[in-house]
């Protein structure tokens, strides 16, 4: 049980895919202009990563090593299509805003990395825990990034006005430079909290 918890929590802080491993950065930088976008992106990734980890783990004994990557991609693409179509059905506006970034989950490094590095070597329960933890870490990072950017760049949080009317939003924060600057400070902030600096 403790091992399961460690696997799960690993993705949230220690190996947070966005703020620690810094992989799959396309979506975190592009969709975090608003908290609601980041949230739905996170939900899609939670679904795809957990489901693909589960299936890859189940298939790990029957997949020949030589063609494992194409098979992983087919598995991931299937779940991404499911997520894409479902999101389009239940949240058409959000789906239109996220645009190409939902289908792009197929090529998101995090998903393939977890399939290759974890799910293809571990049993079903562990793989699901790993997928959930990693995807939650991803979602949390997106929410933090999007909260800062939406607050400063638009003066709102989840679309609600939370700052006084005299606040003048800094448009640059919801433009690409704002994403990079915020991400840089989040990365260094996490290093500061966990006591890992670049000195060693």
């Amino acid at each position: 049980m403790k091992k399961l918890w460690n696997t799960f929590s690993n993705g949230i802080i220690n190996e947070n895919p966005v703020l620690r491993l810094v992989i799959g950065m396309c979506a975190p930088l592009a969709v975090t202009t608003a908290v609601v976008n980041g949230f739905w992106m996170g939900i899609a990734v939670i679904f795809v990563l957990t489901a693909s980890n589960a299936l890859v783990s189940l298939l790990r004994k029957v997949v020949p090593a030589e063609i494992r990557i194409p098979i992983f991609i087919v598995v991931i693409a299937t779940f991404t299509t499911v997520a894409d179509l479902t999101l389009k059905a239940i949240q058409p506006e959000i789906h239109a805003k996220l645009g190409v970034f939902v289908p792009l989950i197929v090529v998101n490094c995090i998903i393939l990395a977890r399939a290759e590095a974890f799910a293809s070597k571990n049993n079903l329960i562990q793989s699901v825990a790993d997928g959930l933890g990693m995807a939650l870490g991803f979602t949390l990072s997106l929410l933090i990034l999007a909260s800062i950017r939406e607050l400063l760049g638009n003066g709102t949080w989840w679309g609600f006005n939370v700052l006084p009317a005299s606040f003048e939003p800094a448009v640059v924060m919801i433009l690409p430079p704002g994403a990079f600057v915020t991400l840089g400070y989040l990365l260094s902030g996490l290093n500061l909290i966990t006591g890992k600096s670049g000195d060693n």
Binding site: E168, A170, V171, V172, L175, P177, V181, G184
Partner: protein, 325 residues
Amino acid sequence: MANKDILSGEGKLLVSSSPHIRAQETVDWLMWQVVIALLPAVIVSIYFFGFRSFYLILLGTLAAVITEAAIEKAMGKDITIKDGSAVVTGLLLAFNLPATAPWWLVIIGSVFAIAVVKQTFGGLGYNFINPALTARAFLLAAWPQYVAGNFPLPLDTVTGATPLAVLKGTAAGTLPTYGDLFWGNVGGVLGETSAVALLAGGLYLIYLEVIDWRTPLSFICTVAAFTWVFGGSGGLFTGDPLFHVLAGGLILGAFFMATDYVTSPVTPLGRVVFGVGCGLITVLIRLWGDYPEGVSYSILLMNLLVPFIERWTAPRVYGMQPMQG
């Protein structure tokens, strides 16, 4: 002289490690000379744009110095506000904003310049791009309505367009005379309008060898040459180079920002390359870009190329063969 004491050592043989001969110039002295050289432009700016100009310049400078001190204190470093570099950054940032800028804009710009661009990368000497210009670019992207497009005309309460915007046809207005451009009686950001005040400060710095003449000269000559060739509406060689040199932020940028020690090349040839590159990008933006003025972006872009320029123009070490392949 301290060197003499060490060398003579009052009859004793003193052993010390190199360097044995030190220049008299210190970072503090150099930076305060830059501040002195900027003073004429400050005075002209206050004359043309009124008390508000003084207020904004003071605010920007104070915010830069306080931010620098606060961050260095928080990080347990030596507090280096005495060296004047934060003062220069604050001054130059305020110089890059119009007199109509709200007070908080100047403060955010100064804090961004010092905290994000300078101290995040390690403080004086480690920032890879010019802090004041980066802060200006940040403010322009964040609050374009306050940074561009709303310039007060001197000695007047109405707002108008900058000469370059008029020339480009993106704003209505009449083109100023060369005299107005020279003395600074035109619309624009606080520090850029008066060519004579900036030239006085720039030549003072060149005379003291605080800055190198190569970068400003190559920068301004490149802009003049290319605007003369391509700037006219009636075909090649019909442009107005004098107008392009005097209008906009070219003189301010060429003398005070393109020569920033930290973000410009150290080799003599590299400085010429840097100036020519700045000039080319400025002309590209002024003649064919969306913005009427391109000095600040040209310097920022060339800042990024400095490591490559330095590697390319590094002098051959005596006795060494140039590297093959």
